[in-house]
């Protein structure tokens, strides 16, 4: 697979503040690449540099092996930071300008407006749009001319839960069509649900990068966490503590959290409890999430 975007040791100073420090990574064709980091970690700065609206202090980037250029950017659909449109123009007229700049046909405007459910409001001025509608217009604009590469900076910003689900579904659908998507987000859950690859940035430093699976597996320890519940939690805890392979148990709210060695399976736990005369009302294997991994990698505090 060829590389869509390769970033090589990009450093960016704002005055004396170092916003990015020698960040390097590669985005492979056909992936959904998440750039994950807390607010102010340098995600938008990174994307701003590769779109030529910010100048890197040092380092290079290549789009499909070429230095960035205006014709190259016409083939990339980008939403950066905020929806940037002319407030006094309607949604449709704004898209018309975007289509002209990208040198794409005007016939696509209607299609993308339908795609983001904004067709009914196409003639309203941009300034009358809600935050979510502005965001959807910005996403519509990126889809003009169906570019093969899409860059989304916090794509679900300002959307309601239904909107968030729609956009995530849209991103997955675009990826199924073979498009490469680069997406910055501070929402772990979003990256975990949508992305195939991830780069974790904190305070301008690249902490980790690779496929989401690799990152998840990276720090996995040899234990599995179970969440169990029964009518009598105290009795359950006593029983579970007698089981082979149990490492730790603790009562949490209305269930019991039990840490087992990896050899223990859900079936064996269920069977063991049943044989001891306890019927489980809850049995849940807690998968290690990106969130846990993220906190392990970046440290638990919200450092900025």
């Amino acid at each position: 697979m060829s590389s869509v975007l390769s970033i090589d040791k990009i450093t960016k100073f704002y005055g004396s503040i170092r916003a990015l420090n020698e960040v390097s990574f590669n985005v492979q064709e056909g992936s959904v690449f998440g750039i994950l980091g807390p607010n102010g970690s340098g995600k938008t700065t990174m994307l701003g540099i590769v779109m030529d609206i910010l100048k890197a202090s040092s380092g290079n980037y290549l789009w499909r092996g070429q230095p960035g250029s205006a014709p190259m950017r016409q083939q990339i659909g980008t939403l950066l930071e905020t929806p940037n449109f002319y407030h006094y123009l309607s949604g449709e007229k704004n898209l018309r300008i975007a289509a002209e700049v990208k040198q794409k046909g005007q016939d696509e405007i209607e299609k993308v407006l339908h795609l983001v459910n904004l067709y009914q409001r196409k003639d309203s001025k941009f300034s009358t749009y809600s935050l979510g509608m502005k965001q959807r217009l910005a996403i519509a604009s990126t889809l003009l001319g169906s570019p093969e590469i899409l860059v989304f900076d916090e794509p679900t910003n300002g959307l309601d839960p239904a909107g968030i689900a729609e956009i995530r579904e849209l991103i997955k659908e675009l990826n199924r069509q073979g498009k490469t998507i680069i997406m910055a987000s501070h929402i772990l859950d979003e990256v975990e649900k949508v992305c195939t690859h991830v780069a974790i940035i904190q305070k301008g430093e690249l902490k980790a990068s690779g496929s989401v699976q690799d990152i998840l597996d990276r720090k996995t320890v040899d234990e599995t966490v179970f969440e169990l519940a029964a009518d009598d939690l105290v009795a359950l805890q006593t029983i579970v503590q007698q089981m082979n392979g149990v490492l730790k148990t603790s009562l949490v709210d209305n269930y019991l959290q039990a840490v087992f060695a990896n050899s223990v399976t859900a079936t064996s736990v269920n069977q063991f409890c049943f044989e001891k005369g306890i019927v489980l009302s809850k049995l849940n294997i807690k998968r290690k999430s990106l969130e846990t991994t993220f906190l392990e990698i970046t440290g638990t505090k919200s450092e900025r």
């Binding site: 100048k55 002319y86 407030h87 002209e100 700049v101």
Partner: protein, 261 residues
């Protein structure tokens, strides 16, 4: 470039402030010229002796200078339009979006320069029409005499509008850019010129200030010797104005190409 200008037109044509100021400018030129013409006619008919001093300001060939001088005071309207159009882009962050969507930085700032030149041509055209109207209702016959002022009007419009554009690019805030444009153009430059010329007797140094250089090119139709003693020749002034325009373009372009947007 034509395609870039077409996109600029899409931005401008539904922008109400543009039309308000454009119409205000257009109406002002006619109204100001008409009032001046009317006052001159009245003065001359009531006190015939004044005709000696006033001459025939609205007849050919003098009309080019008269209208050029009157309308030079109105250049702040198109100047404000330029500032607003540029600062809008910064406010809406559409200068970023245009580049993200596939313009180069050169194209973005280049088409703004082209817009300034087109505005200046339109201003010159409006001036020509005004001159022809008022010239033809006054004494005197049309000849090529004085038509050099058409070129001066164009140069002056360029000087004001490029100055306005540079302020907008450097300050990025419409309030700040407009205030500096007005305060400097209407008050400070006149003060500095007056000080240099009349207090320190450093003329012609005062005539080479950025906007003043183009103002002196089209001096007040009567009393040039009083207001602009020892003013330099037109060709030297033109060179000075062109040097300033080059500097405005250079700074605005450099700022836009090199900085973070």
């Amino acid at each position: 470039m034509l395609h870039l200008l077409k996109i600029e037109w899409l931005k401008i044509k539904n922008y109400r402030a543009f039309w308000v100021f454009a119409i205000l400018y257009l109406v002002s030129i006619f109204v100001v010229t008409y009032i001046s013409w009317y006052v001159e006619q009245r003065t001359k008919s009531e006190i015939p002796q004044t005709a000696m001093i006033l001459g025939d300001s609205f007849g050919f060939p003098k009309v080019w200078q008269t209208v050029g001088w009157l309308s030079s005071w109105l250049l702040y309207f198109p100047g404000m339009i330029i500032i607003m159009l540029m600062v809008n882009e910064f406010n809406f962050k559409t200068h970023r979006q245009n580049i993200i969507d596939g313009w180069s930085r050169q194209q973005f700032i280049g088409v703004k320069f082209a817009l300034v030149i087109i505005f200046s041509l339109l201003i010159t055209l409006i001036n020509i029409i005004t001159c022809l109207i008022f010239g033809s209702i006054s004494y005197g016959h049309f000849s090529m005499d004085g038509t050099a002022y058409i070129f001066y009007i164009f140069i002056q419009a360029l000087a004001y509008l490029f100055f306005a554009l540079m302020l907008a690019v450097l300050f990025r805030r419409s309030g700040l850019a407009i205030i500096i444009f007005f305060l400097y153009g209407i008050i400070f430059e006149w003060l500095i010129t007056a000080l240099l010329t009349f207090n320190f007797h450093l003329s012609p140094a005062g005539y080479f200030l950025p906007l003043q250089a183009s103002d002196v090119l089209i001096p007040i139709p009567f009393g040039k010797k009083v207001f602009y003693p020892d003013s330099p020749s037109s060709s030297i002034l033109i060179i000075a104005v062109l040097a300033y325009i080059t500097a405005y373009v250079f700074f605005a372009r450099k700022k836009f190409l090199i900085d973070d947007l």
